[in-house]
């Protein structure tokens, strides 16, 4: 079973990996993805993430459950932050563990692709001049097509 958290506080990468590994020596591969607040033009003062409490957790559990059905995972941890964050701050953490690397790599990429297109979060960027909602990218929707099963 995947472990899901939606929180305002930061996460500790090393601690999360230790928790996932604890007592499970059949794990041979761990993949970690971290998404952070990006300041492209040097003008970002902060970013605020809004989400849909209730549906967010359900969606993350559904996506993680799908990853667990597709690949032989021995552990799966997803943390997504909300609230106001600063440039460089952590936003999202995905950790997948498996016996061999392919399952962990693929599951982590799948989780991030679906999270970006289906988990109900919205980013707003604050600069000195204005506040703007981040537009969804076509590339993120297109990324889903590679996971379509026949």
């Amino acid at each position: 079973m995947a472990s899901i958290s939606v929180q305002t506080t930061d996460f500790d990468l090393a601690k999360e990996v230790e928790t996932l590994k604890a007592g499970n020596t059949s794990i041979g591969a761990i993949v970690i993805f971290t998404g952070t607040v990006r300041d492209v033009g040097g003008t970002l003062s902060s970013m605020t993430l809004e989400h849909y409490p209730g549906m967010t957790e359900r969606e993350l559990e559904r996506i993680a459950g799908e990853a667990e059905n597709r690949w032989a995972l021995l552990g799966c941890r997803v943390i997504h932050r909300h609230g106001t964050l600063q440039p460089g701050d952590n936003i999202v953490l995905v950790i997948t563990a498996s016996a061999h690397r392919t399952d962990a790599f693929k599951a982590a990429e799948f989780l991030m692709d679906f999270l970006k297109s289906e988990a109900p979060f919205w980013k707003k960027e604050q600069t000195a001049d204005n506040n703007t909602w981040v537009e969804a990218k076509k590339a993120d929707t297109q990324a889903l097509s590679k996971w379509k099963q026949d």
Binding site: Y52, H80, W122
Partner: protein
């Protein structure tokens, strides 16, 4: 029905949520959106037919032809941008 709005839709409508009596004859997401657009200029501009809107019924992603009932929780929001 409980209506919930997020992000730019919430700002344009000027509400984060509201109770709404679903009119008889409105049975789908598409009909609900049409009905809400007629409620005022803030609804009409927030829910313009040619902008990308996403709808969730009882916290599950829905389509235009998904059915809606008066007991449902319906959320309307722009495409998501998390991760």
């Amino acid at each position: 029905m409980q209506l919930i709005y997020f992000a730019s839709i919430r700002e344009q409508i000027g509400l984060s949520e509201e109770e709404y009596d679903l009119p008889s004859g409105v049975h789908t997401v598409e009909a609900l959106l049409d009905d809400l657009r007629a409620r005022g200029p803030n609804y009409a501009s927030a829910l313009l037919a040619d902008i990308k809107l996403k709808v969730a019924v009882n916290q599950q992603h829905a389509k235009l032809n998904t059915s809606v009932k008066d007991q449902d929780e319906v959320a309307i929001f722009p495409p998501v941008t998390g991760g």
